[in-house]
Every structure is written in structure tokens, then in C-alpha cells.
Amino acid sequence: MLRGYKELWLAFLAMLLISGLYAAVYVATRAIPPAYELFGHGIGIIGFILMLMTETLYSLRKRSRSVKWGKMSTWLQSHIFMGLVGPFMVLLHSSWKFNGLAGVSMLLTVIIVISGFIGRYIFTRIPRTMDGLEIEGTLSQEALKQARRLMSLWHTIHIPIGMALFISAFVHIGAALYFATLLK
């Protein structure tokens, strides 16, 4: 489980491609793509959908007892992939302005990505099967206990940050709809 850095490389490649597209739009228009125009808005919407999906789909699969679609390792890999590419797209959507609630949402996004990296590090310390189950006996009981404690602590921090992020993002979307998209 999570051997190597395949999902990180794939996410890096995807971000490189998106950066290329962003640069092309910048060169063509000679301006930073504004958050409210087609490209800027598009990457914001797609990025946020990726962020939303990475949480909901992964959580559903993780806690699903009846249906076992795909290996947990693949789901975690896609969670990490979407959890990196989504926030990167949202960052480009910001057009490098971090005012008000939108700025707060961006800040929370950055924090949760960093938190995710930390979580990935702790997670990979514990030997697991392909379905994410811990393999007993490879670590000393003490080390395993400590790792589990750290993982639990991390969950307690990571999830609230994510919830705060989603609430602020939803309010930002609602305000954008009210004040800009539906503007007459």
C-alpha cells in the first residue's frame, strides 16, 4: 500500500499540464486569467469539484462494508491525486488575489494540503495490506501504538480543517452566485 510515489508523480504531471495551459492563456491575453472569466472560472469549478470528490468518494469507499469497488490503495492514490490537483487549480482560479472569504478559503486549502502531506507520511509508517489493513508484527508494539496515536491525532485535525474549508468555500460559491453570476 502506497509503495513508491506514483500518485505524486501523476499529480505533478497534471499540474505541469495545467500550468502550461495557464501560461498559454496568459501569453494569449497578456493578462492573469481573471477568476470570473471562462478559463479562470472553469479551473476554479473543476478544481473544487475534484476537492469535493476526493473527500466524499474516498470516505464512502473507506466506510463501505457491503460493496467493495476497487482496491483501497487505488482509492487512496486517487484521493491524494485529486487532493493535490484540485487545490492547485483553485489556486490558479484565485488570480493571485486573496481578498475576504475567498482568500480565507484559499488559505484553508493550502493548510489542508500540507496537512494531507503530513497524514500521508504518518500513514506510510505503518505496514499495511493492499486494502489498508495494518500488518501485525513488523513493528514493535510500542512503535505501532505510537503510530496509531499519531494517525488518530492527525485525523482529529485534518477533518475539521476540511470541514471549515468546505463551509467557507460553499459560502464563497453562494456569494459569487448571488453577487456576480446572477447579476443583472
Binding site: H155, T156, I159, I167, V171, A175, F179, L183
Partner: protein, 454 residues
């Protein structure tokens, strides 16, 4: 602990969500809608309107300008409520704002005067891209950058007064892009650029001429516009350019007009050759053996127009009749073959009727002469000795072609006319009495020699 289906719905997660929502609500309550603002409002100050001298002074009161989606009023209505003099201009089509509003009813104030660009942003200084330039008759779609590849500013074209424009500006910049093209273009079409160009159509290589009735196909594709539209100086001039071939190709015509002006009857856009000429569209159709004849047999020296269409102009040398039948061969012959003759003697001055119909041609035309022969009977029929020269040579006064054995019914010396029916002396024919010639007669053929007897 019972695990929920979504990992985020933990106790801490829900508390975090609630706290975030409360925090946002608290900020919104304390600071108004400014937390939703994409950027500070302009601090450009002016007269006191609506209780403020600048937009920035409205603070977090979004509703000062923004209306709810379900409200009847719009953002522009809010603008007009404060900026009453601009609202008045927009109702007057003679003013710039009025022209814009009239030509583009969908246009809102914010399309030209966008906000939330910072406190220092000047609302009355337009960025080129923000102004819907097409609403005043010239789109800037084709003008994203100057000749120096920099974004346009209003001053680049208008100088200090945006309501004025000098077309020299166009030529000045475009010479920097392609001096040779501009020189040729100005020579061909003049320098009143706006007469044709509206900023949307570039009329360049990507211009699609095929949306007009005259489609550009074949070799026409490589022709420069001014070769056909040579005298166009405004857009409407282009539409009146003649679509007739000879309006452009008259000077190329190797036939010198002998084939007329409809080049396309024989040629197409892919080249002058190969040409497809359908002689049957001409007044002289090629039928029968004429189809095999080389063009220059009839069209001497390649003169095609005005070629005589009478047979004799070509066939005089071949006239087997030596001109006796006149010059119109087609009376008897058709183009399928000379041997195929359709001669009807009845169309001549001497129709063949009665016994003449079965007579061999040579009997009358014995010397090979077919025209100018006498049509009098005596030219063939001599006066028989029996007539003894009594009736002259007008056979037809007694005979017909269907009844040569005529009976004389005129007066007869010495024999009484019986009942007006002419000579019918006993019902016999002439030869009953005139056994040798009409100048001699015998009675005894019928009557005995005894005058007192019967």
C-alpha cells in the same frame, strides 16, 4: 464508536463546520458584505450622490449597488439612481451614452465601468478591453495588440478625445506591420479604411468569399481581391462587381470576342484548358458526318464567329452537280451522308404526276442536265404524225399525265355537234374515221358506198 459513512461527519468535523459558519455570519454581520468582495471599491471621489462621494464610502453595504436576483431592479438601475445626469444622457441617442444604450440594449454600466479593482482604480478611465467598441460600429476583436504587440489604449487610436478618430491612424500602424501590402492596398482601395472595415471582417486570407453568390473556386482562389474589385472604395462597391466572365477576362480573350462573353459555356475555373465546347449550343449544330470534321475545315484561320452556315460556303468544291441545283444542298442532302438523298421532284416546278411518276430520270434528263430544262410537253413529246400538225405543241390542252388517250371534244367541220357534247359521231373515236392521219378520213369504214342505201 459507530463510524459514519462520510468520514468528515465526525464530532470535531461538525463542530468545525458550525464554528466556521458562525464565524462567517459574525463577520458578515459586523463588516457587511465586504468579506464577499472580490476587491476594494474605487475611492475616486466626486459630487455627493446617495450620501457618499465615492463608491468606497459605501463600505460593506453591497445592496447600495447590488440587487438580489429576484428583485425587479438591476445594478444599472442602482447606478442611474445616483448618476442621474448619465441616466439622462442614456435616454438621448445623440449623446455617446445614448448611442451605446440604443445600439446595444444589453449593455450595462459595469461593462464599461467595472468595479472592485482597488481603491486607486479610476472608474472613468476605461481599459480598452472593457469598452464594447462594436457598439459604436467598429469591433476591436481584430485589434488585441498594437503593432508593437502591446495592448491597445484608447489614446493609441483616439488621441486625447475618444469621440474623434482619424483614419490616418489605421494606415500609420498598418504600414509598420506590412508597408508593401499597405502601399498596394491604399493604391487599390484608397485610405478611407472604415468604409469597408468594421473590425470584425479582416477580408484577409481567412475571408470566406463563398458566402457570397460568386464562389471562389479553382484558379480564382489565387487571385488577389483587387484584380476583380479594382474600383471598390467602400464595402457596397464590392457587391456591385460584375459576375460576368468578360468583365475581368475580356483582355485575356484569344477569340477576340468571336465567341461572345459567356466564357463559362466552354471553360471552367480550373483553367482555360481543357475547354469543353458544345457546338450544338451554337446556331449550327454538328450532326452526322459534320461531327468528324476538324474545326479548321470550316473555321479557316481560326475565325469562329461569323462563319457562314450555308452548305455551299464549304461544299462548293464537292458539288457533283456543278451548281445546277443551286447552293442549298440541304434541300436534297442531310449531314448523315451525301449518298442519302431526299429529293422530291414534286417540290420542283415540274411535279411528277400520273405516267410521269414511273419514268426513268434519264428519259428527261438525258444530257445530265437537271436544272433549267424546259417543262413544256413538247420538249420530250414530239407532235405525232397522226395530228397532222393540226393541234400545235400544247399537248396538255387535250392530254393529261394520267390519261394520254385524250378524246377531242371541240367543234368538227362537217360533223354536227350532237347535243353540245362535242363530236360523238356514232360513238366512235377519232381513228374510226381518221384511220391514217387526222387530215384524211374515210366514211366507208362504217358506211357502205351506196348513198341511197343505209
Amino acid at each position: 464508536m459507530k463510524r459514519n459513512r462520510l468520514g468528515c461527519l465526525t464530532g470535531t468535523g461538525l463542530i468545525a463546520a458550525l464554528l466556521t459558519a458562525l464565524l462567517i455570519a459574525g463577520f458578515a454581520y459586523a463588516r457587511g458584505g465586504s468579506i464577499y468582495s472580490p476587491g476594494p471599491l474605487s475611492a475616486q471621489s466626486g459630487e455627493m450622490r446617495g450620501g457618499v462621494t465615492s463608491h468606497a464610502q459605501t463600505g460593506g453595504n453591497c445592496n447600495a449597488c447590488h440587487t438580489a436576483p429576484w428583485e425587479q431592479a438591476t445594478l444599472a438601475d442602482r447606478c442611474a439612481a445616483c448618476h442621474t445626469e448619465i441616466a439622462a444622457q442614456m435616454r438621448n441617442v445623440a449623446s455617446m451614452h445614448g448611442t451605446l444604450a440604443h445600439n446595444n440594449p444589453q449593455l450595462g454600466c459595469r461593462d464599461c465601468h467595472p468595479e472592485h479593482r482597488g481603491a486607486d482604480a479610476k472608474l472613468t478611465e476605461l481599459h480598452g478591453a472593457d469598452f464594447p467598441h462594436e457598439a459604436v460600429g467598429f469591433s476591436l476583436n481584430g485589434h488585441p495588440f498594437t503593432a508593437a504587440r502591446e495592448p491597445f489604449t484608447c489614446q493609441d487610436c483616439h488621441g486625447d478625445d475618444i469621440s474623434k478618430f482619424d483614419p490616418v491612424t489605421c494606415t500609420g500602424c498598418h504600414r509598420q506591420i506590412d508597408a508593401a501590402f499597405m502601399a498596394a492596398h491604399a493604391l487599390a482601395y484608397g485610405t478611407a479604411c472604415l468604409e469597408c472595415h468594421d473590425g470584425v471582417d479582416r477580408f484577409g486570407k481567412n475571408f470566406d468569399h463563398n458566402r457570397f453568390p460568386f464562389r471562389i473556386e479553382g484558379k480564382h482562389a489565387g487571385v488577389s481581391c483587387d484584380q476583380c474589385h479594382s474600383s471598390a472604395h467602400r464595402l457596397s462597391d464590392f457587391s456591385v462587381t460584375s459576375q460576368e466572365c468578360d468583365s475581368c477576362h475580356k483582355k485575356d480573350d484569344p477569340h477576340d470576342g468571336r465567341f461572345g462573353a459567356r466564357c463559362a459555356d466552354c471553360h471552367n475555373e480550373n483553367g482555360w484548358r481543357p475547354a469543353k465546347f458544345d457546338h450544338n449550343l451554337a446556331s449550327f449544330k454538328l450532326e452526322g458526318e459534320h461531327q468528324e470534321v476538324p474545326c479548321d475545315s470550316c473555321h479557316i484561320n481560326k475565325v469562329y464567329k461569323g462563319t457562314p452556315t450555308d452548305c455551299y460556303s464549304c461544299h462548293q468544291q464537292q458539288d457533283a452537280h456543278g451548281g445546277q441545283y443551286g447552293r442549298d444542298c440541304a434541300i436534297c442532302h442531310d449531314p448523315s451522308s451525301w449518298e442519302h438523298v431526299n429529293f422530291d421532284h414534286n417540290n420542283t416546278q415540274f411535279p411528277l404526276t400520273g405516267a410521269h411518276a414511273g419514268v426513268e430520270c434519264q428519259r428527261c434528263h438525258s444530257s445530265g442536265q437537271f436544272t433549267g430544262l424546259s417543262t413544256s410537253c413538247s420538249s420530250c413529246h414530239g407532235d405525232p404524225a397522226f395530228h397532222a400538225g393540226m393541234f400545235g405543241l400544247e399537248c396538255a390542252s387535250c392530254h393529261t399525265t394520267s390519261n394520254w388517250s385524250a378524246v377531242y371534244k371541240g367543234p368538227h367541220p362537217g360533223i354536227a355537234d350532237e347535243g353540245g357534247s362535242g363530236v360523238n359521231h356514232g360513238g366512235g373515236g377519232c381513228r374510226s374515221c381518221h384511220t391514217q392521219t387526222l387530215s384524211t378520213a374515210t366514211c366507208t369504214q362504217c358506211h357502205s358506198g351506196n348513198p341511197g342505201g343505209d
